[in-house]
Assembly symmetry: C2
């Protein structure tokens, strides 16, 4: 498979209101937008360096994946995301290599991106997201 | 301060021998080199997407920062690193904002990069490295 870039780093936060100002005002990374993703149970704040984004993730409720992550690990890096040239090829290769791919058919995420995840047990402890840009 | 890019993601691994093949052969990210950094007590394997690197970190002994991280958290993302335009300006701004900067004078790291770290307590749980490219 062909990985093009580190697309973003996903960071679980307790509160966007309290935690976003560090990324926005102290590190001075440009705020690209904030979105509520009901299906995933999160509000995301996207900050873009121009070469790789930071995605802050606040839970919408007490039983979302982010709420469970925060309960277990506390705030911090939740996942890392690479952009791939072709996500269908990537999934086929990963499955052939015996890797635990969470969505065997890519889901359509924010802004039309095609998305899957690799389970941390196949990567050495890191939740890895792969995306293909629809453009 | 001006952040230019996500320079790399640092990942603590138990064993480069066991864990590197996933990044090199499954994700097919180009291996840039492996170095022993005695001062930091780690062996690093660098994998470069061309737009952001993955730095695998294996401890050289039982009492290095990486050994302690693995003991506390298990393998996974250890730090994230941004490239800044000017690290001296960045440190001054961070200290003025009351942020806990670990090296108040940047250290000279691998390949002549100027390096500092921001303590996780100032970022919402993420160890953040800042580097300035010497070129």
């Amino acid at each position: 498979m062909k990985i093009i870039s580190i697309e973003h780093i996903g960071i679980a936060v307790k509160s966007l209101e309290n935690d976003a100002p560090f990324w926005k005002h102290v590190l001075n990374i440009s705020h690209r937008g904030t979105k509520i993703l009901e299906r995933e149970g999160v509000t995301t704040g996207i900050y873009d360096t121009g070469r790789g984004k930071v995605e802050l993730l606040e839970s919408l409720g007490d039983d979302s994946p982010i709420a469970k992550f925060l309960e277990k690990h506390g705030p911090g890096v939740h996942h890392i995301c690479f952009e791939v040239e072709n996500i269908y090829d990537a999934i086929t290769e990963l499955l052939d290599a015996g890797v635990d791919v969470i969505y065997k058919e890519p889901k359509v995420g924010a802004e039309g991106y095609l998305v899957t995840f690799i389970h941390p047990k196949s990567t050495g402890g890191v939740l890895v997201e792969l995306v293909q840009n629809p453009d």
